[in-house]
């Protein structure tokens, strides 16, 4: 009975999603090359500035449009802006991106929003972290705890990519589950159960806004909200359902997300983390020696995420960090600790700034992380020029077969 209900629900979702895609496709909203556009939107991407320009992306009809505008007027994350310009298409490696040529961007500060306090809090947190920690350490911690990326220097960012640990600076599932546990524990002390759950959910939504509504954080938040509101945290059998619902909501609201690399990576990695470790454990029975246990789980996690995302990474970036399994297995253990130190300090320092001194506790871990990244970041990456979609399909069919094999 229950199973068939779920099946009907799934079928309904699929049909309505198909319908949504049909409408979306028919409207053919893709902005035309060379067309002049003017629109109002909120800047929900990092704003990077150099000595001549500031770069950011804007969302227009569900498409991501990249903008390089003059330094003035100054744009910052969360601003409501009036954007005008000409649509253009540009090749970036193997990808094609949409850009706004000769852009005119005007901030519309009169716009009132409930989220404004969130954006100023975000700015405040960046300032606090940067005023206590050295530049690179501050960027790293901000990335790990909040997914804030605009403060990275291009070199350090590249080193993270080459070492294969760029994913740690994207806020995602781990941030949400730790935040959820923290908030639920905190509110549980003095609130009724239902109230505590509601407050936790509000906290998760606020965090998603703070972290910048990237696809990975939106996915994790929806799954987190489902998990917390249904009190089903930790039950892996719900992962597929949770991911499916999150994917459904996101695609229904914004169908073009299906082409977004962050979206693809986030979902494949999530499912990979749930379904691939049992296969590895079945195929290679790892001896449960204490030393292996210490990093063994991180190795399996890393390998699982890599197996599930490899085709997407190769097809879009054409590079693969050969060191990533090794690097991840020796640095990943620091991530939850850094999240705790960074997260707790952030809350305390917002209330009373001198608590920011607690950030120094994170320094040894950050140094260690940086040292490892710096060492492996100097070596090259594996490069591939073309990766046909037929191979991708074959690859995922094979993984699917392996999952089915494991279940038998």
């Amino acid at each position: 009975m229950r199973k068939s209900l779920i099946l009907i629900f799934f079928a309904f979702c699929l049909v309505s999603l198909g319908f949504r895609f049909y409408i979306y496709d028919k409207a053919n909203l893709k902005p035309e090359n060379g067309s002049k556009v003017a629109f109002k939107t909120r800047v929900l991407s990092e704003v990077k500035a150099n000595s001549r320009i500031q770069s950011f992306s804007l969302s227009f009809k569900g498409y991501r449009i990249y903008v390089n505008s003059p330094l003035y007027p100054q744009i910052s994350y969360g601003d409501m802006v009036m954007a005008e310009g000409t649509i253009g298409y540009k090749k970036l490696g193997t990808r094609e991106i949409i850009v706004l040529d000769s852009p005119k961007i005007k901030p519309d500060s009169a716009q009132f929003s409930l989220l404004n306090p969130i954006y100023s809090t975000r700015q405040r947190l960046i300032e606090i972290f940067q005023s206590y920690l050295p530049p690179e350490e501050a960027s790293l911690l901000l990335g790990i705890v909040f997914g804030v990326r605009e403060s990275f220097s291009p070199q350090f960012y590249e080193e993270l990519q080459k070492a294969g640990v760029l994913h740690v600076i994207a806020a995602s599932g781990m941030n949400i589950s730790m935040l959820g546990a923290l908030l639920a524990g905190f509110f549980g002390v003095f609130l009724k159960r239902q109230m505590a759950i509601v407050m936790t959910c509000i906290g998760i939504v606020l965090f998603a806004a703070l972290a910048g509504f990237e696809p990975s954080i939106v996915r994790a938040s929806i799954m987190g909200l489902l998990a917390f509101s249904a009190q089903i945290l930790g039950r892996q059998s719900w992962a597929l359902l949770g991911a499916a619902i999150a994917g459904f909501i996101m695609l229904f609201v914004s169908p073009s997300l299906i082409k977004d690399i962050g979206f693809q990576l986030s979902f494949t990695a999530t499912l990979g983390l749930v379904y691939i470790p049992p296969i590895i454990q079945k195929a290679i029975p790892v001896k449960r020696a204490p030393m292996i246990k210490l990093v063994g789980e991180d190795i399996i996690t890393t390998i699982s995420a890599q197996i599930s995302t490899l085709p997407i990474i190769l097809a879009n970036f054409g590079t693969y960090s050969i060191w990533s399994v090794l690097v991840n297995s020796i640095v990943l253990w620091t991530v939850p600790l850094l999240m705790i130190i960074g997260g707790v300090t952030a809350i305390l320092a917002l209330l009373f700034e001198p608590f920011g001194n607690l950030l120094y506790l994170a320094l040894p871990l950050l140094w260690y992380f940086k040292l490892v990244v710096r060492f492996f970041g100097q070596f090259g990456q594996l490069s591939i020029s073309i990766f046909p979609w037929q191979i991708q399909i074959a690859y995922y069919s094979f993984i699917f077969a392996a999952i089915v094999w494991r279940k038998k």
């Binding site: 150099n50 330094l71 005023s131 050295p134 530049p135 690179e136």
Partner: protein, 283 residues
Amino acid sequence: MKKYLFLSTLSIIILSVIFTTQYLQSHDGKFHMVFCDVGQGDSIFFRTSAGIDVLVDGGPDDKVLGCLGENLPFWDREIDMLILTHPHADHFTGLTYVLKRYKVKHFLSTGIEGNTEIYRKLKDLLAEHHVSAKNLEAGDRIRLGDESVIDVLWPSPAWIDGRYQSMSEDRLNESSLVLLLKYGSFEAMLTGDAEDLILKELSLSDVEILKVPHHGSKGALTEEILQPLRPELSVIMVGRNSYGHPSGEIIDILSTAGVKTLRTDLDGDVKIETDGKNWVVKK
């Protein structure tokens, strides 16, 4: 639980060991000077024996932050003085990043302003962070606590009065501050982008270290200039560029004169340490 206790204890031990070493290093009573490798641009940091931090120019981007992070103790987020030799982007863009991350007390420049957007940003940031600003001219002397002083050799008040109005963007190099840094008998000459044309107007004397003017551009130095300076070490601050910096001519002049030359593009950061009598290049 045991694991976390162990990790936190270890972390505190590491922190205190590094704190102690960095504290001792930064209070060793010596004068430290770093020519930061910031690519194609200038940025020179020094910390006097009295612990006063000075940054002369900030380079073309945020690379200067890495250099400061490495050369300041990890808890030190204060810089006493920023000096801008002249308002060209390859000398001050990095200062905008420094102003956002460090508490800066003073900003010193010639007072000649640039008219680019990024210069406007620098001005906005200085105002926003309430940094006191002062103008320098030849004859000024900045005392840095102990025996360290900076003498300003250029631009002269007369030159500023005469040229101020008609300063075009490409002639801003001529307005560049020329500074003579002294600590005991140690002297270093920081030339910014002021080339031969300007330097030959000055009365020059023996120095230990010369920052080669204008990234080693053609015509930046001549044998006549080098004669009275007799530097033991010259530093060329240069990165990948399309101007042909440093020019072969300059390198020839320096090697003919027997001056040891270090380049930030090949040698990275150039660190100098002195007690006021002897000095060494630190690896």
